[in-house]
Amino acid sequence: MKKFLSYFSILFFTLTLFSSCDKNNDPDPYPSEQVKGCYIVNYGNYGSGGASISKYDYTTGILTNSYYKSQNGGLDLLSNIQYAYSYNDQVFLMGNSPDQVITVDPLFVQAKNGVTDQIAKPRTCVASGDYLYISCLGTSPDWSAMPNTYLAKYNIKTRTVEKKISLPGGPEGLEIANGKLYAALNYKKAVAVINLSTEAITYIETPAVTSYFVKDKTGNLYVSLVNSYATPSQTTGLSYINTTTDKLATTYPLASVSTEYASIMTANSDFSKLYVITSQYDANWNLSGAVSVFDVATKTFATQSLISSISGLKGITVNPKDGNLYLFTGESVTGAGLLKIYKPTGEFVKQESVGASPAMAIFLD
């Protein structure tokens, strides 16, 4: 009997041990039903605050404005948020005035202070391994030539900028492909290619200054060509970069590509289409925004805009769940912006009022 009880006890405790190690019983700190949604980044009014996050639950249709504030005990976002990037259960927010990198969890709770050291006018970012590469314009930028702009190599684990990689020309959009970092230069007609191992920089010349990338399924890049005041160009549209050869393969012209920041182009889930924001004149010669569609298979833009006459169009993204287009408009920097939702056919679905100057959105699940 004694032996039976001993064996039973051993068996009992062993079973208990294994069952307590079952990960399925650990509570998920970021449950999907709380995280799932579209998070709209409202830039606000530069130097005067006003930035915010709006959360749109696309399954219920419920919009929550000032989401960051409600998740952080009433704390306002003091920086104007230029860009948001989701990576490994963290969301990185690029803040201007003050310049900082803010890290929040998928519930947009900020546990630690933003990082300000060696971060000056951050624009966008992209991650690779333990590093976040951040495009920065530097302090007191020379807006004509941008000689002092750089990439900050930010260690995600230690939350420090380990290195500043000098990159004149105003780096804006960033992307990683084939083990290399690509930087769209907004003040120079080129794309910079940075070897992530050696940090050596080479350039691919482009017919116009560039702003953002979209990476296709083969790892090649579409980059937007824009006509800017500082560096004008007659050619605007998309260029296609072969990231194996680092050559510009071809250019697809599209007139009046938007010079807005953060999210002027996006792809749908199966990468059959690219959507690009443009500006155009309506019948009364008033300038407004439009969405052009690029067919990836035929490599052509549709002759007619999918959506047109959108006033104050600032950004576009696609809901990966249903393929709907989310457009962000903001005519003033102190008033409400709008989220406008369209079906892939261009049919209007609904609109919601969001924060001031909505620039982009990320989807979390």
Partner: protein, 641 residues
């Protein structure tokens, strides 16, 4: 509001039907009013025009005109500590108040407004502040009101000098001198000043962004230095008793850091800079020898702004101005003036294309007339038409009336009313900035209705001037820069501003001690009633426009001592279109001065405290303002010959 407008119009026409069997007013009251009435009032019956007294100017002589307006008028000035300040008169924007010096409108033609902190009080002898539209007199931009900077004619015989030195908190320094020289016929008046402030005041910073510890921290303002200097040189020649030439050149150099907001100040690395240089020259010939008086003027203005030392990206204009005017008082009761004014403007802005704009011409033609009926009713009419190259400007009339309801030896009760149309042509930046300029803009177009009652009482030891005004203003085609596809100026909304303004100025004696006291209060709801944007806010009080403003000032003079105390109340105001508000606040200032005479020369020593109660407030969201500050100053009036 319809009733208000109808009532105002009726008021203008019923004056003449009132019985006129009342006693003539004693000359003293009439005379006093006439001698203090500026030329502008002569042709603007019913307009609310306030003169900032020389005493008030002197109490704020170290700063810009914004300090004077903030302390002694119930006008909202949106400002930070670092040199940026804009006037919002009757709920309008800074572009809607014209600032005039001689025949020159000082407002920037590229930006539309005049920086209030860059108009130094020290250089001027008087400031007239007109509330409400006056475009028929002052031209484009005078929708909310106007400021006229005045120089007094002294016709000095001898040499006199005034000098002021003051030192204040946070390394504030002011040095100013005025030299008057003349022989009663020729006169030279030189006014110079230099002002510097490090502005490194301490404050409690609540905007730390520290998620781990949200306690406000002790912080010190960085990057808010100010350095201003100016010279105003007059050369005047009196040809005869009724003929004179007066010239003045005003050179101004204003530099300041762009003050970082509080959240950036904590991690301060460097600040950007704004540098403004201006040359304003006005010369005027007056001939009053004949019944038909003639006046001719010539002027030149050079404005240049450089941001952050980037001399490639300059923003400036040059303009030549000429004006001819004839006026005649046909009788004591009827007179007129008519004139033309021409401007030739050349912009020097890096973002403009020469093929689109290399110069612009403006021509104003105007006519004004006054009519007094039985010394009791005064009517005025002003007509103005401006012509601009490639731009259409509306015809701008105004009508005014004043009626002496009750008039006797010591009391005067007046009813006033005024209807004025107004306009503002879009700025050069609005129309020609790079590829974003909008040449299709319409001018802003306003109408202002005003009703007022004014009571004057004077006795041996007591004098009071009480005014109550009600106004209604409607401005259409209000211009704002918005993003409709690209950022561009557009005619986006219609704004209605209305309100009640109470103003009192009282002088009395307590025993032998003269006391001056003033109390002002404004109630001013201002709303957009139409907006072209889908998400435009309509029906809410405009951003940075308090509904309630009040101020009070007391001056007591005893022997050679003088004590002054002033206080102001700024009501709550929103800072965005989401209804988020900045708290109301009270500010108080005080000062003590003493006259000293040494060998027939006059000196004046003063000690003053600003923000007496160390109020912690934000005028502009996220921008720190200084707490209590101190200043000592020494002024001298020297008769050299």
């Amino acid at each position: 509001m319809k009733k208000f407008r109808v009532f105002t119009v009726l008021f203008l026409f019923i004056y003449a039907t009132l019985p006129a069997q009342m006693k003539m007013t004693k000359d003293t009251i009439l005379l006093e009013e006439v001698t203090t009435t500026a030329i502008a009032k002569k042709y603007q019956a019913g307009a609310k025009i306030e003169t900032i007294s020389p005493t008030q100017l002197q109490l704020s002589q170290e700063g810009g005109i914004d300090q004077v307006l903030m302390r002694f008028t119930p006008i909202y000035i949106k400002s930070n500590a670092g040199g940026l300040s804009s006037i919002h008169l009757r709920g309008t924007s800074a572009n809607h108040t014209s600032v005039n010096f001689g025949g020159i409108n000082v407002n920037s033609l590229t930006l539309g407004s005049a920086e209030m902190s860059a108009v130094p009080s020290y250089l001027f002898d008087g400031v007239d502040l007109q509330y409400g539209s006056s475009s028929a007199i002052n031209g484009s931009g005078a929708i909310g009101g106007s400021l006229t900077l005045g120089l007094q004619s002294n016709w000095t015989d001898g040499v006199k000098m005034k000098a002021t030195v003051s030192q204040g908190s946070f390394d504030e320094q002011f040095y100013g001198t005025k030299i008057f020289a003349g022989n009663g016929r020729w006169e030279s008046v030189s006014r110079l000043y230099y002002f510097y402030k490090a502005n490194n005041f301490s404050f409690k910073n609540p905007y730390t962004g520290n998620v781990e510890d949200r306690t406000p921290v002790n912080d010190r303002q960085h990057g808010a230095n100010i350095e201003n200097m100016g010279l105003l040189q007059e050369l005047n020649y009196r040809i005869g008793n009724d003929e004179q030439i007066k010239s003045a050149i005003w050179l101004e150099h204003d530099w300041h850091h762009v003050q970082p907001n509080m959240q950036t100040n904590l991690h301060y690395t460097s600040a950007e800079e704004l540098d403004n240089r201006n040359i304003r020259f006005w010369s005027e010939y007056q001939n009053n020898k004949h019944p038909l008086k003639l006046r001719g003027g010539l002027g030149y203005v050079h404005d240049m702004q450089v941001y952050n030392k980037d001399k490639v990206q300059k923003i400036g204009t040059d303009r030549m101005i000429s004006e001819l005017e004839a006026s005649q008082d046909i009788t004591n009761s009827f007179g007129f003036k008519a004139g033309v004014k021409y401007q030739y403007i050349v912009p020097q802005v890096y973002a403009y294309s020469d093929s689109i704009i290399d110069s612009e011409q403006h021509l104003d033609a105007y006519f004004s007339s006054f009519l007094r009926i039985r010394n009791r009713l005064k009517l005025t009419i002003n007509l103005r038409q401006m012509l601009v190259t490639n731009f259409s400007v509306p015809f701008t009339p105004s009508l005014g009336a004043e009626y002496r309801l009750h008039s006797e030896e010591r009391n005067l009760l007046k009813l006033t009313s005024n209807i004025s149309s107004s306009y503002r042509i879009p700025t050069f930046n609005d129309r020609y900035w790079g590829t974003q300029g909008n040449p299709n803009l319409k001018p802003e177009d306003g109408i202002n209705y005003e009703l007022g009652i004014n009571y004057l009482h004077t006795s041996d030891n007591f004098k009071t001037d009480l005014r109550l005004n009600a106004f209604y203003m409607d401005v259409k085609n209000w211009i704002e820069w918005r993003n409709f596809g690209v950022w561009q100026a557009q005619n986006v909304k219609e704004v209605r501003s209305k309100g009640i303004e109470f103003q009192s100025n009282t002088d009395f004696k307590l025993g032998e001690i003269p006391i001056q006291f003033c109390l002002n209060y404004n109630y001013n709801p201002v709303k957009a009633v139409k907006d072209v944007s889908e998400s435009g806010v309509v029906g809410n009080q405009l951003v940075y426009t308090p509904k309630h403003m009040a101020n009070s000032w007391l001056m007591v003079t005893y022997s050679r001592w003088q004590l002054n105390i002033d206080g102001s109340y700024t009501g709550a105001r929103s800072y965005d279109d989401f209804g988020n508000q900045l708290n109301s606040y009270l500010l108080a200032n005080c000062g003590l001065s003493r006259k000293i005479q040494i060998k027939k020369q006059q000196f004046n020593g003063a000690f003053s405290v600003n923000n007496l109660f160390n109020t912690n407030y934000e005028n502009e969201k996220y921008y720190a303002m200084p707490g209590r500050t101190f200043r000592i100053s020494l002024s001298m009036n020297l008769n050299i010959q």
